[in-house]
């Protein structure tokens, strides 16, 4: 299928929306758009970060998911207490493949679930005492932890528990940071507000704790912010930065520690990967400490080279020289990968629907392989994300914000991409429709995809998915015969 023209895409959107009642149609129409590269401001063509419609299938999470799952959860040497009923913590435990180094249960706690397991009596009489006791127990059982964060679940906000006062008292008693995070799930329209709340908690309770403390700094100190180390991404990134001659003082939150977070204000430059979830803290550091931040993109050689040069421009000539050397060293490796996979993947069409940064970041990597992204959208992106996306996407491609299950299915049926890049919730629908899907949230148990090393894996994975013979055999043999007879008769 050839790429659609602007009119055809508009018509497609109108057609898909037809099934909705009038009010819902009007609302959803604002969230679907045909990309127009001339538009500077996304709000002119697409609305985002609005409440999802009741009754449609949305893929969004809650504020607790944003805080516990994304920002705080990967800080490995802290214990993150899911304060409230047991389910929220248990069902989000270890699902996000943010890798870390350490001995789980001794000095790292990344994949463990700590919960206050609220019962009816805690709702009636309040859970403060339980929380205090829990912190005491944690201290006794896991003495090597470096701090505690209290991640509130919905009931905490509803019954009005004072977790701040409990935290302050407990922090004094155990002499370690105890951070209350008010990330009750009902706050906001998606996990995005959870990111914001978690960032504010880092700002208020962690970041300034080592201000004025001695620190041996070099002019090449940087911090990686918002790289969650999915499948080892942050490590693939870190290698490149170190080869450039930079010193990575902190990386969080993937494989991060609270000490690194406290040291972040001492760096010279913040390298921001996930803009959506960590821009708040980066902006704060820019204002308070005068540390500039830089958004980078390490997906695919084109974007890597662009980002490496952008980073190097902040530093002196020795870094710039080393950067060019890094680029030159990896070039043969990249050429080899592209020579191998591009002929196999050229011209294939991809539709993406991911969370906060990948809908725009991975476009470059697909293009390096000669593939084309014909539709993209964010679960919980905001206008500033779409501002950045419009320029990355081709003209007249499809943009969809918080797309509903029905819409995405219809779009895929009509646009017939060769591949969909989305999450586990979409995976089996599309695979049953005969379209290969790669999970772009968790890299489908593979990874890393960042950096030069990651690109090799990315290219291989895309090839594996697209060349999988399964998808040619979706029609069972008995139905195939019938289909052929019908064809003959016709």
């Amino acid at each position: 299928m050839t790429t659609l023209s602007r009119e055809e895409t508009d018509a497609l959107i109108a057609e898909v929306l037809e099934v909705y009642p009038e009010k819902a149609q009007k609302d959803r129409a604002k969230h679907l758009a045909t990309n127009d590269q001339t538009v500077e401001q996304s709000k002119k063509c697409i609305t985002s970060n609005r409440k999802s419609l009741p009754g449609v299938m949305t893929i969004r999470g809650c504020a607790y998911a944003g805080s516990k799952g994304v920002v705080w959860g990967p800080i490995k040497d802290m214990i993150h207490i899911s304060h409230g009923p047991v389910g929220c913590g248990q069902y989000s435990r270890a699902g996000r493949r943010n890798y870390y180094v350490g001995t789980t249960g001794v000095d790292t706690f990344g994949t463990m679930n700590f919960t206050s397991d609220f019962q009816e009596k805690d709702i009636v009489f309040g859970g403060d005492k339980k929380l205090a006791k829990l912190i005491e127990e944690v201290e006794q059982l896991f003495p090597l932890h470096k701090g505690i964060s209290v991640q509130s679940e919905c009931p905490i906000g509803l019954i009005g528990d004072d977790i701040e006062s409990v935290s302050k008292k407990a922090a004094a008693a155990i002499d370690k940071p105890v951070v209350p995070v008010r990330c009750e799930g009902f706050r906001g329209v998606s996990q995005s507000l959870g990111h914001h709340i978690a960032n504010d908690a880092i700002r208020d309770w962690v970041l300034d704790k080592r201000d004025g403390a001695a620190f041996e700094s070099t002019p090449y100190d940087v911090a990686i912010i918002g790289d969650y180390n999915i499948g080892g991404d942050a490590w693939a990134t870190r290698i490149l930065l170190e080869e450039m001659g930079l010193r990575v003082v902190a990386q969080w939150s993937g494989d991060g520690t609270i000490a690194e977070m406290m040291n972040t204000p001492k760096v010279k430059l913040n390298l921001l990967h996930c803009y959506r979830s960590m821009n708040y803290i980066s902006r704060h550091m820019e204002e308070k400490y005068g540390i500039p931040y830089l958004e980078y993109n390490f997906f695919g050689p084109t974007k890597i080279i662009e980002s490496l040069r952008k980073i190097a421009a902040f530093f002196d000539d020795s870094v710039k020289e080393k950067t060019e050397a890094v680029i030159a060293r990896y070039k043969p490796m990249m050429d080899e990968i592209i020579a191998k996979y591009k002929p196999r993947l050229e011209g294939k069409k991809v539709m993406l629907y991911v969370g906060g940064l990948r809908p725009r970041h991975v476009i470059g990597a697909y293009e390096d392989l000669g593939m084309e992204v014909i539709g993209t959208g964010y679960e919980f992106g905001h206008n500033d994300d779409y501002d950045r996306t419009i320029k990355e996407m081709g003209d007249a491609t499809l943009l969809y914000d918080d797309v509903t299950g029905f819409e995405l299915e219809e779009f895929v049926k009509r646009l017939k991409p060769d591949m969909v890049g989305s999450g586990i919730k979409e995976k089996y629908i599309f695979q049953k429709m005969g379209i290969p899907l790669r999970q772009m949230h968790s890299w489908d148990y593979s990874g890393p995809y960042h950096g030069y090393d990651g690109f090799a894996i990315f290219a291989r994975d895309m090839d594996i998915a697209l060349s999988n013979p399964t998808f040619k055999n979706l029609t069972p043999p008995w139905k195939k015969v019938a289909a052929e007879e019908v064809k003959k008769a016709a």
């Binding site: 500077e40 401001q41 709000k43 902006r283 204002e287 500033d384 501002d387």
Partner: protein, 75 residues
């Protein structure tokens, strides 16, 4: 009154940021722009206008300020 942040844009010029709504917009004009008096009415490229009390020009951007909304951007 809303908390806003004014920062230096990548391509020069000033950028307006409203954290509560994650709104980023470039500032098209600023009423007063002298070292002693800086601020006043801000016109944004999305059609919104805000007012900040004039202050001495801040030595470093970004800066967080309180702003009054005069006219909202069309939604």
């Amino acid at each position: 009154m809303a908390n806003i942040m004014i920062q230096q844009g990548e391509k020069g010029g000033l950028v307006f940021y409203l954290p509560k709504r994650d709104l980023e917009a470039s500032i098209e004009s600023i009423e007063f722009d002298t070292p002693e008096k800086w601020g006043g009415e801000l016109k944004l490229d999305n059609g919104g206008t805000y007012y900040i009390d004039p202050i001495a020009k801040p030595p470093r951007l970004p800066i967080s300020l309180r702003a009054k909304r005069l006219g909202a951007a069309e939604d």
